[in-house]
């Protein structure tokens, strides 16, 4: 069973600051996704990356997939209170089951 390690587990910052969260594993992934979950709701997809070295940008969010397809990072520029939530990475193993495995998440609080 592949394990996804997310760091940091908790992050509390002021509005306007930049931050990066990480998702790492010893396994190679066929794809990796980032989801955001707000209290009382289910996770919602932010992005999917499938190619090693791939970089995707979504407004102030930048997602990167490692060259070896074992890790990923999410960078938020000029964080806003609306970015508050639990950020989860989910990966499908290369050549294995298509059932996504989720990390424990990074809980982000952005203070006004």
């Amino acid at each position: 069973t592949q394990l996804l390690e997310q760091s940091p587990q908790f992050l509390s910052i002021q509005e306007g600051e930049n931050l990066t969260v990480y998702c790492n594993s010893s396994s190679v992934f066929s794809s990796l996704q980032w989801y955001r979950q707000e209290p009382g709701e289910g996770p919602v997809l932010l992005v999917t990356v499938v190619t090693g070295g791939e970089v995707k940008k979504l407004k102030r969010l930048t997602f990167q997939f490692g060259d070896a397809r074992k890790d990923s990072s999410l960078h938020i520029t000029a964080a806003q209170p609306g970015d508050t939530g639990l950020y989860l990475c989910a990966a499908r193993a290369s050549g294995g089951s298509y059932i996504p495995t989720f990390g424990r998440g990074t809980s982000l609080i952005v203070h006004p």
Partner: protein, 116 residues
């Protein structure tokens, strides 16, 4: 509504009782997943249904847990003789089958189970 619907949203039960949690996926989505989310933990995979194939039950934590999917649509997760460690949010998700490698999972809002 067009999203994944789960019921009940909240369930409080006594230890030893049985509970049933329901999931109504998005119409046309043939893949259905159940995950469990405990406080401070990520999503723990429980069971996966894909069309008429045999379900992948590899994540069920004990034989007290079972699930079925009728008519390729609605799914019910049953927990027998509930224990306090079963307390968690149970999330259901559905997805289109065409992109098994990278398809998006659409989640419901979850059923919060509290076992006293």
């Amino acid at each position: 509504g067009a999203g994944v619907s789960q019921s009940p949203s909240n369930k409080v039960t006594e230890k030893g009782k049985d509970v049933e949690l329901r999931c109504d996926p998005i119409s046309g989505h043939t893949a259905l997943y159940w995950y469990r989310q405990s406080l401070g933990q990520g999503l723990e995979f429980l069971i996966y249904f894909q069309g008429n194939s045999a379900p992948d039950k590899s994540g069920l934590p004990s034989d007290r847990f079972s699930a079925e999917r009728t008519g390729g649509s609605v799914s019910t997760l049953t927990i027998q003789r509930t224990q306090q460690e079963d307390s968690a949010v149970y999330l259901c998700a559905s997805s289109l089958v065409w992109d098994m490698r990278a398809g998006e999972l659409f989640f419901g809002e979850g059923s919060r189970l509290t076992v006293l």
